[in-house]
């Protein structure tokens, strides 16, 4: 019997594809973000409000994942930007191959921003790199403040937490300060934004965050 040391990622194939996507985004100066949350935290509504605020000429596209239905793509297509639904047919997360496949008809040189809306799930999407520049996790005020402690993996891996539905704060027992504290216990230094897609409060800060990251992605490295 001999022992072969392997030392490779279990999801090696996904990782290779994700790195290829990341390189393609980098080459074309495209910012790709991966939106992750529980079902019903407000990913699609936030995207609607985001697309609504973009100028018509904004070079943005959206990939939206769900187990079934084209409902989200229909909702998002109203704003006039390219949108494609990824129907996973039961799979609880998106992987790099699905993203690559659905990007095939789009030219990355026509884009500045690609927003991927993952399947509503706080567990599995955290394991699959999609080549994004940043994972963004949403937590809504109708959930528990301890979500970051219950699902540490995704809060640890996300660069930004967006606290949604803050218009409901007067009516729900949710303590925003405790949620922020829990998120930073799992991920010290994590960026946190708060907003309401319904009232529009905090949307400017979100749009500015996206814009700042987009500009950063666009900046070409200085030739040596």
């Amino acid at each position: 019997m001999s022992r072969v040391e392997v030392e490779k990622k279990v999801l090696n194939e996904n990782q290779i594809l994700a790195e290829q996507l990341r390189e393609r985004y980098r080459e074309h100066g495209v910012l790709c973000v991966n939106l992750i949350s529980s079902p019903g935290s407000g990913k699609t509504l936030l995207l609607e409000k985001t697309l609504e605020r973009f100028d018509k000429g904004t070079r943005v596209a959206v990939l939206t994942g769900d187990l079934q239905t084209e409902n989200d793509a229909k909702r998002l297509a109203k704003y006039g930007f390219p949108v494609k639904q990824i129907v996973t047919g039961g799979t609880c997360h998106l992987d790099a191959r699905m993203v690559e496949k659905h990007l095939a008809d789009w030219k990355l040189e026509d884009l500045d921003l690609l927003i991927v809306e993952n399947v509503g799930n706080l567990v599995c999407p955290s394991s699959y790199d999609l080549g994004e520049a940043a994972k963004i996790v949403l937590l809504s005020t109708t959930e528990g403040e301890d979500k970051p402690l219950k699902y540490p993996s995704i809060f640890f891996k996300s660069e930004l937490m967006v606290l949604t539905k803050i218009d409901l704060l007067p009516y729900v027992p949710f303590k925003a300060e405790l949620a922020r504290e829990n998120a930073r216990r799992v991920h010290p230094g994590m960026e946190i934004l708060e907003l309401s897609s319904t009232t529009g409060e905090g949307l400017d800060v979100w749009m500015n965050w996206l814009e700042a990251r987009r500009v950063k992605a666009k900046a070409k490295p200085i030739p040596a």
């Binding site: 019997m1 072969v4 392997v6 194939e13 799979t91 567990v123 394991s127 993996s153 799992v186």
Partner: protein, 114 residues
């Protein structure tokens, strides 16, 4: 929830490795799963057993090593096991600490019977 997919990826890696060892049998595959990987070891083991049942890989053993989250203090370099999501360095009290292990989802080794 996605452990069956993970199990399937592990089996694919074993099948690939087996091609380098013609005439031999891979009897064991060792994986490392970090606390932050979001993968349940029991569900993975169960998924793996379902996957190999009644196949040529039926006797293949999946050995899971669980890796706890370890932080390194950015001030005094002390390394400590992070308990209850408390990032503070127990030695010097610094809050700025960095995660150095616990994210693993790796295949570590395979045992090949000649």
């Amino acid at each position: 929830m996605h452990e069956l997919g993970i199990a399937s990826s592990i089996l694919e890696s074993v099948e690939k490795e087996a091609q380098h060892h013609p005439g031999c049998r891979i009897s064991r595959v060792g994986v490392k799963i970090g606390e932050l990987a979001g993968v349940d070891a029991d569900a993975l083991q169960f998924g793996f057993e379902c996957l190999v049942k009644d196949t040529e890989w039926e006797k293949l053993v999946l050995q899971v090593e669980w890796i706890p989250r370890v932080q390194r203090c950015l001030k005094c370099q002390n390394e400590f096991r992070m308990a209850d999501y408390d990032p503070q360095c127990p030695k010097c009290g610094e809050f700025a600490t960095q995660c150095i292990s616990g994210e693993e989802l790796d295949i570590a080794y395979m045992e090949v019977d000649e």
